[in-house]
Amino acid sequence: MSDVRRAHSPEMNRRSFLTGVILWVSGIIAAIIGVPAIGYFVSPALKTSKGEKWIALGKLGDVAIKKPKAVNFQIAIKDGWINSELTETAFIVREDQSKYIVLSNQCTHLSCKVYWSDEKQVYICPCHNGIYDMEGGNISGPPPRPLDRYKTKLQDDQIFILVKG
C-alpha cells in the first residue's frame, strides 16, 4: 500500500474498513434471525386466556353442612394445536342452610393439589405439608395465603362457579 494512500487516514485503512463492514453485516444478519427467534420462543407466553365462563358444579342440597365435598368439573382448553378438556377439582363447603363457599384445590404455596382429611378436619397439601382449615384459612406450613375462592352464584339450588377459559 502506498504511503500517499496510508497518509490519507491513519485510523481507517482498507483492512479496518472491511473488518468493520463484515462485523456490521454479520451483526445485522444475526439480528434478523435472532430477534424473530426470541419472539418465536416466548410467543406462547404472550397468549393469555381471554374469557370467563360459569360452570355448574351440582346442587347445594346434595352437600352436607360442615363437610367439604370435592367436585370435579371440566374446562375446555386450547393446548397448543390441541383442543382438549382439563379436569379440575373444587371443594364446596356449606356453612349452613344458605351460606356456602367454593374453594380451589390448588395450594397457594407452589400449586400442588390439596385434599380434605375427614379425620383431621383440615386440607393437607402433600408436597410441603401446607395445612388449611375448612374455610381455606392457613393453619401451618409454607402457604403464603388462604386457598383461593371461586366467584359463585346460585340458580334453582344449582351452584355455578366462574372459571377462566
Binding site: S16, I33, P36, A37, G39, Y40, F41, V42, S43, P44, L46, G80, W81, I82
Partner: protein
C-alpha cells in the same frame, strides 16, 4: 495489532486466538474469483439450517396425529413461526443447490487433485449427508406430498439388488410409511445426520485451512499475483 480492550486481551492471552485468527481469517490466499465463496455460502446456509431447525423442534411433534397440525400451528399461531420455518424450508433447497455449485467449482478448477483428495472425499460424504437431510426432512410435515415422496424414495431403495427389500423395510421400519417411519426420519433428521454433518465438516474445513485453497489453473504468464499456498 491494534489496541485491544482489556477483556479481549485477557481472553486472547489464555486462548491464543490471534493464532486462530491468523490461520483462519488473515491467511494468505491466491487471487481467486467469486465462485470461491460458494463453500462459505454453503456453510452459512448450513448454520441457518441448524439454528432454525433447533427452534422448529420446540413446536414440531413427530407423530402422525400431530405432525401436520403442529406445523400448521407454527405457520399460523407462533410469532414469526412462518419466518423460522420458511427459512428452514427454502434453506433446504438452497443448501442442495449450493453444495452442487460448490462441487462443480472444485471439479471445474481441478481443485480436488493432490494434495486435496481428502477434502474432496469429505465433501462427497457431506453431499450425501445433505441429500439425506433433505430426504428425511421432506417427510416431516406429513402431508400428501411428503407421504408419497417418501413412498417413492423408499421404493427406489427397494429395487437395490439382493438387499433392496430389506433396506426398504429398515428405512420404513415396516412395510409402509407410518408412525415408526416418521419417528425414525425425525431422529435421523435432527440427531444422526446433523451429527454426521458436523463430523465431516470440521475436518473438511481444517483441511481447507491447513492446505490452503488452490489458485484457478491459468497459464503461467497470466498468473501474476497468484501466491501458491
Amino acid at each position: 495489532m491494534e489496541e485491544k480492550q482489556n477483556w479481549l486481551q485477557w481472553t486472547a492471552d489464555r486462548i491464543g486466538w490471534e493464532a486462530i485468527d491468523k490461520a483462519m481469517l488473515t491467511r494468505k490466499i491466491p487471487k481467486v474469483n467469486w465462485a470461491y465463496t460458494l463453500g462459505s455460502t454453503t456453510l452459512f446456509v448450513a448454520i441457518i439450517q441448524l439454528v432454525t431447525g433447533m427452534f422448529l423442534t420446540m413446536y414440531y411433534s413427530p407423530s402422525p396425529d400431530h405432525a401436520y397440525d403442529s406445523i400448521n400451528y407454527i405457520m399460523n399461531d407462533v410469532t414469526l413461526g412462518w419466518l423460522i420455518r420458511g427459512l428452514h424450508h427454502w434453506g433446504a433447497s438452497v443448501m442442495v443447490i449450493l453444495v452442487f455449485l460448490h462441487m462443480w467449482r472444485v471439479f471445474y478448477y481441478g481443485a480436488y487433485k493432490y494434495p486435496r483428495e481428502l477434502t474432496w472425499i469429505l465433501g462427497v460424504l457431506l453431499l450425501v449427508t445433505v441429500l439425506a437431510l433433505g430426504f428425511t426432512g421432506y417427510l416431516l410435515p406429513f402431508d400428501q406430498k411428503s407421504y408419497f415422496a417418501t413412498r417413492v424414495g423408499t421404493s427406489m431403495a427397494g429395487v437395490v439388488p439382493l438387499i433392496g427389500p430389506f433396506l426398504k423395510r429398515v428405512l420404513l421400519a415396516g412395510e409402509d410409511v407410518g408412525t415408526l417411519t416418521l419417528a425414525r426420519f425425525y431422529g435421523l433428521h435432527i440427531w444422526i445426520l446433523p451429527a454426521l454433518f458436523v463430523l465431516f465438516v470440521v475436518p473438511h474445513l481444517y483441511l481447507v485451512f491447513r492446505i490452503g485453497i488452490s489458485a484457478p489453473p491459468v497459464l503461467e504468464e497470466e498468473d501474476e499475483e497468484g501466491e501458491e499456498a
